[in-house]
C-alpha cells in the first residue's frame, strides 16, 4: 500500500519481483534465527562468549570442523563445550524444530479448515498425546524403545491414533468435510480431557511431572529426542512446501479448488496426515505448547501475505525464533527455577499478536 502507485502500473514485472522479495525475507529470517540461537546458547547460569559458542558448534559439524582452529583450550573451554553440546544445544534445537512444526501445522490447518481459530491441536492431537503421556506417567512405566523413551513414544502414538479416529468419524464415503473434522476434533478432545482429568486425580506424587508435561517444556530434551523427531518434521515441512501452491487454491473453497484442478480429497488427506505427524512429533518432545500454532501463522500472514509459498517457510522460521526465545526466557528468568515454556509463548505472543491485530485488522483473513 505504501508503494501503491508504483506497483499499480507494473503488475507484470512486479509479479516476478515478488520471488526476489520472498528470498530476501527468508534470508533475513534465517539470519535472525542464527542470531537467536547464538544468543540462546550464550546465556544461562554460565555465560559463554558467542564466538566460543560458534566455534564449539562448527567444530562438531563434519568437514566444516576442520576449517576452524582451536581458539583456546584448557579446562574453561572443555567445560563450555560440554555445556553447549550436552545441555543447551539439544534443548535449543528441540525448541527450533518444535517451533517449526507447530507453526507450519497451524498454517496448514487454518488453510484447510479455512478457519482462523484453527491450530495444530484442534483435531485432537494434543489430547491424544496427553492421554498417552499421562498413561505412561500414571502407570510409572519407564521403558525405552530404540532409544525413544516411553513418554515420547506413547505421546506420539496417542496423538496419531486420535487423529485417525477423528478423521474416520468425519469421513462420509470418499469425502471428508472439514467442518465435521473440526467438530469431531473438538468433541474427542473434550472426551479425552475428561479421561486425563480422571487420571490426574488418581496420580498423587507424579502429578507434577504430568502437569509440567502438559504445559510444555524442553527441560528433558536430549539429542535422542531430537534425532527421532527431526527427520519427521523436516520431511513434513518439505512435503507441505511442495503442496503450497495447491494450498493457496484450497482457500477458494472445495468446489472452486476442484474446478481448478486440485484433487481436493487427496490433498486434504495428505495435508492432514503430514500436519498430524509433525505435530505429534513436536508434542512428543516438548509436551503441549500453546499459542505458537495459532498465532505465528497469523503474524506471518499479516507480515508476508496469504501465499503459502512464502507463508509456510516464514511461519516455520518465525515459529522457531519465537519458541527458542521463549524457552530461553523460561529457563533463565527465574533461575534456578524453571518455568513452563507455554507460559511465555502466551505471555509474549498474545500481546504482540493483539498489537498487530489492531494495527492491521483487515489483514487477518
Amino acid at each position: 500500500m505504501i508503494t501503491w502507485n508504483m506497483r499499480h502500473k507494473s503488475g507484470e514485472k512486479d509479479y516476478f519481483e515478488r520471488f526476489a522479495r520472498w528470498k530476501m525475507i527468508i534470508i533475513f529470517l534465517v539470519l535472525a534465527l542464527m542470531l537467536t540461537i547464538t544468543f540462546a546458547v550464550t546465556i544461562g547460569p554460565k555465560q559463554i562468549p558467542p564466538l566460543d559458542a560458534w566455534r564449539i558448534i562448527v567444530k562438531n559439524i563434519p568437514f566444516l570442523g576442520n576449517l576452524v582452529g582451536d581458539g583456546s583450550s584448557g579446562v574453561e573451554y572443555s567445560v563450555n563445550q560440554s555445556i553447549v553440546l550436552q545441555i543447551r544445544l539439544p534443548r535449543i534445537i528441540a525448541a527450533t524444530i518444535v517451533g517449526v512444526a507447530l507453526a507450519v501445522a497451524g498454517v496448514v490447518l487454518q488453510g484447510l479448515l479455512r478457519n482462523p481459530m484453527a491450530d495444530p491441536y484442534v483435531i485432537g492431537i494434543s489430547s491424544g498425546a496427553a492421554l498417552g503421556a499421562s498413561i505412561v506417567i500414571g502407570l510409572g512405566i519407564g521403558f525405552s524403545f530404540l532409544g525413544i523413551d516411553a513418554i515420547q513414544l506413547m505421546a506420539f502414538i496417542g496423538g496419531l491414533i486420535t487423529v485417525f479416529v477423528v478423521y474416520n468419524i468425519a469421513r462420509t464415503g470418499p469425502k471428508v468435510p472439514m467442518l465435521t473434522v473440526l467438530l469431531a476434533g473438538i468433541a474427542i478432545t473434550s472426551f479425552l480431557s475428561a479421561i486425563i482429568s480422571f487420571i490426574m486425580i488418581t496420580l498423587g506424587e507424579s502429578l507434577h511431572a504430568l502437569v509440567f508435561w502438559l504445559f510444555g517444556s524442553f527441560t528433558l530434551s536430549s539429542w535422542d529426542n531430537v534425532a527421532v523427531a527431526m527427520p519427521v518434521i523436516i520431511i513434513g515441512l518439505i512435503v507441505i512446501v511442495i503442496f503450497a501452491r495447491q494450498l493457496n487454491i484450497m482457500l477458494l473453497g472445495d468446489d472452486q479448488a476442484q474446478q481448478l484442478g486440485v484433487d481436493i480429497e487427496k490433498l486434504k488427506k495428505i495435508m492432514l496426515i503430514v500436519a498430524s505427524l509433525i505435530t505429534a512429533a513436536a508434542v512428543s518432545i516438548s509436551g503441549i505448547i500453546g499459542f505458537i500454532g495459532l498465532i505465528i501463522p497469523h503474524i506471518a500472514r499479516i507480515l508476508v501475505g496469504p501465499d503459502h509459498r512464502i507463508l509456510v517457510p516464514s511461519s516455520a522460521l518465525a515459529g522457531a525464533i519465537i519458541l527458542v526465545l521463549c524457552d530461553t526466557a523460561a529457563r533463565t528468568i527465574m533461575e534456578p527455577v524453571e518455568l513452563p515454556v507455554g507460559v511465555f509463548t502466551a505471555f509474549f505472543g498474545v500481546p504482540f499478536f493483539l498489537y498487530l491485530l489492531r494495527k492491521k485488522k483487515s489483514l487477518i483473513m
Binding site: 482457500l251 481448478l260 484442478g261 509459498r309
Partner: protein, 424 residues
C-alpha cells in the same frame, strides 16, 4: 470440435431428486442459455457437468470421455466454471487469483512461467481488469470480482465454459461488454458456453439455443423461438408476457406483464368494456385485469400496441384490419360487447377519422344508461385529428353525464363503488 453429451442424467441431494432424465448435447461454438425458475435445477446442472455433483444415473461425456473418470487436473484443463458466489476469503491480489486458473497447466513441482503470466494478463485485458492486477480481491467491488473470476476461467483455456449468472453483479455496460466477449470467444475458439440466466432478454440476445428447466426436468429445449415463447413463460413462470422480435437487435425480447395465478377471479366480477387505441389503454387494461375485472375491448386495429396487450392477456377484443377505418360491422360488434358490460371506460385515446366510430360507441353506451367513465388526461383539442368532430362528440359525452376522471386509480374507485352497489 469439442462435443458435450449429457445422457439421461438423474441427480440427488441426499434422497431428494433435483435433476431428472436430463438429455442434451452441445457442440463447440454453441452458446446455450439455461433458464428456469428458482429451484428448477439450473445451478445443479452446472455443478453436475462441472464434476462437482456426481449424477446417480447417467453420464456426462466431454469428447466421449466421462468427466467423472477424468482426473481433476484433466477436467480443469477442459472445463472452467464461473460460480454465482465469488467470495474470496484471503487477501490474494486479482493477478494471483487469475494465475490460479493456470494451475491445471502447471506441473506439480513447477511454478508459474512467463507464459502463464502472459496468458493471465491477456485474459485480464480481455475482461478489462488488468489495471486491477495488484489490487486485493477482497477490496474489489462485486462486479470487479466477477470479472476477475471470469478472467480466471479464461486463463484456464477451457473447451467448455460454465457460467452461473455471469453478469449478475455487472453494470449494464459491462454486461454487454462481457457477453460480447464471451460470444466472440465462443465463435472464434469453438468454445462451448453453458450459462444460467435470469434475464430472458440477455439470454435471447446472446444464446444460440436454450434449455428451459422446470422442477429438475427439461421443459423445453432448442432454438430460442421454441423455448422462450409466451406459452412456456406462462406455464413455467406463471407470468403473462409479451414476446417479440426486437426491430434493432433482431433478437427476441420479453416483457413480463403480470403474474397469472389461476383461480383468483372473483365470481361476481363486473364486466367492463374498455375503448382505447394507440397504446393509451395499456396501463388501464393491465390495472383492471390485475384487479380481476372481466374485460372486453374494441374496436382495436390489429398491430396497434393495445391490441398486442389484450391478445397477450387473452381479453376478448373486437378487431379491425391494420390501418383501416372502423367498419360498420366492427362497430356493431363493439356495440354488442358494450351491451353486455356494466361499465364502459374510454382511455385517453387520440381520435382520427378512422376511429371516430369508437367515440360514437361510447356515446351509445351512455345513452343506454351504462356507467361510462372517461379518462381525460390530455385535453381533447390536442388529440383531436378530425377538425373538431371528435371534440364535439366528447363535449356531448360530458353533457350527457359521463364521469370524467384523470387517472386509472379514479377509474378503480368508481368501479369499486359500482360493484358494491350491484353486488347488493
Amino acid at each position: 470440435m469439442v462435443k458435450l453429451n449429457i445422457n439421461s442424467v438423474d441427480c440427488f441431494y441426499g434422497s431428494v431428486k433435483v435433476l431428472e432424465s436430463i438429455v442434451f448435447s452441445v457442440e463447440g461454438g454453441e452458446f446455450v442459455g439455461i433458464l428456469g425458475p428458482n429451484g428448477s435445477g439450473k445451478t445443479t446442472l452446472l455443478k453436475t457437468i462441472g464434476r462437482i455433483l456426481k449424477p446417480r444415473v447417467g453420464t456426462i461425456l466431454l469428447d466421449d470421455i466421462d468427466v467423472y473418470i477424468m482426473r481433476a487436473m484433466e477436467v480443469a484443463k477442459n472445463i472452467a466454471v464461473v460460480p454465482q458466489d465469488t467470495s474470496v476469503a484471503f487477501d490474494f491480489t486479482a493477478l494471483d487469483l487469475v494465475l490460479m486458473g493456470r494451475n491445471p497447466h502447471i506441473g506439480f513441482f513447477e511454478t508459474e512461467t512467463e507464459k502463464d503470466l502472459a496468458i493471465s494478463k491477456k485474459s485480464m485485458e480481455l475482461t478489462n481488469i488488468w489495471n486491477l492486477a495488484d489490487r486485493k480481491v477482497s477490496e474489489l467491488s462485486g462486479g470487479e470480482k466477477q470479472r476477475v473470476i471470469i478472467a480466471r476461467a479464461l486463463a484456464q483455456e477451457p473447451k467448455l465454459l460454465l457460467l452461473d449468472e455471469p453478469t449478475s453483479h455487472l453494470d449494464i455496460n459491462y454486461q454487454i461488454e462481457m457477453m460480447d466477449l464471451l460470444k466472440e470467444l465462443c465463435k472464434k475458439k469453438g468454445l462451448i458456453i453453458l450459462a444460467v440466466f435470469h434475464d430472458f432478454n440477455l439470454a435471447a440476445r446472446y444464446c444460440d439455443s436454450a434449455i428451459l428447466l422446470s422442477k429438475g426436468r427439461v421443459a423445453a429445449i432448442g432454438s430460442l423461438d421454441a423455448v422462450l415463447n409466451k406459452e412456456n413463460i406462462q406455464k413455467i413462470f406463471h407470468v403473462n408476457a409479451i414476446v417479440k422480435q426486437h426491430p434493432l437487435t433482431n433478437s427476441l425480447y420479453v416483457v413480463p406483464l403480470s403474474t397469472s395465478k389461476p383461480g383468483t377471479m372473483r365470481p361476481k366480477a363486473l364486466t367492463v368494456h374498455v375503448v382505447c387505441g394507440g397504446g393509451t389503454g395499456v396501463s388501464l387494461i393491465r390495472t383492471l385485469s390485475e384487479h380481476n375485472y372481466r374485460l372486453t375491448t374494441g374496436v382495436l386495429n390489429v398491430l396497434d400496441s393495445d391490441y398486442d396487450v389484450v391478445c397477450t392477456l387473452g381479453i376478448p377484443v373486437v378487431s379491425e384490419a391494420p390501418f383501416s377505418a372502423i367498419t360498420e360491422e366492427a362497430y356493431k360488434a363493439n356495440l354488442n360487447k358494450i351491451d353486455n358490460a356494466k361499465a364502459v371506460v374510454l382511455s385517453n385515446t387520440p381520435f382520427g377519422y378512422g376511429n371516430l366510430k369508437n367515440l360514437e360507441g361510447v356515446k351509445a353506451s351512455l345513452e343506454k344508461g351504462i356507467t361510462t367513465i372517461v379518462v381525460d388526461e390530455t385535453p381533447i383539442q390536442e388529440r383531436d385529428f378530425t377538425g373538431g368532430k371528435a371534440r364535439a362528440l366528447y363535449m356531448e359525452l360530458k353533457d350527457k353525464g359521463a364521469i370524467f376522471v384523470k387517472n386509472c386509480d379514479q377509474v378503480l374507485s368508481i368501479l369499486k363503488t359500482l360493484e358494491s352497489k350491484t353486488g347488493k
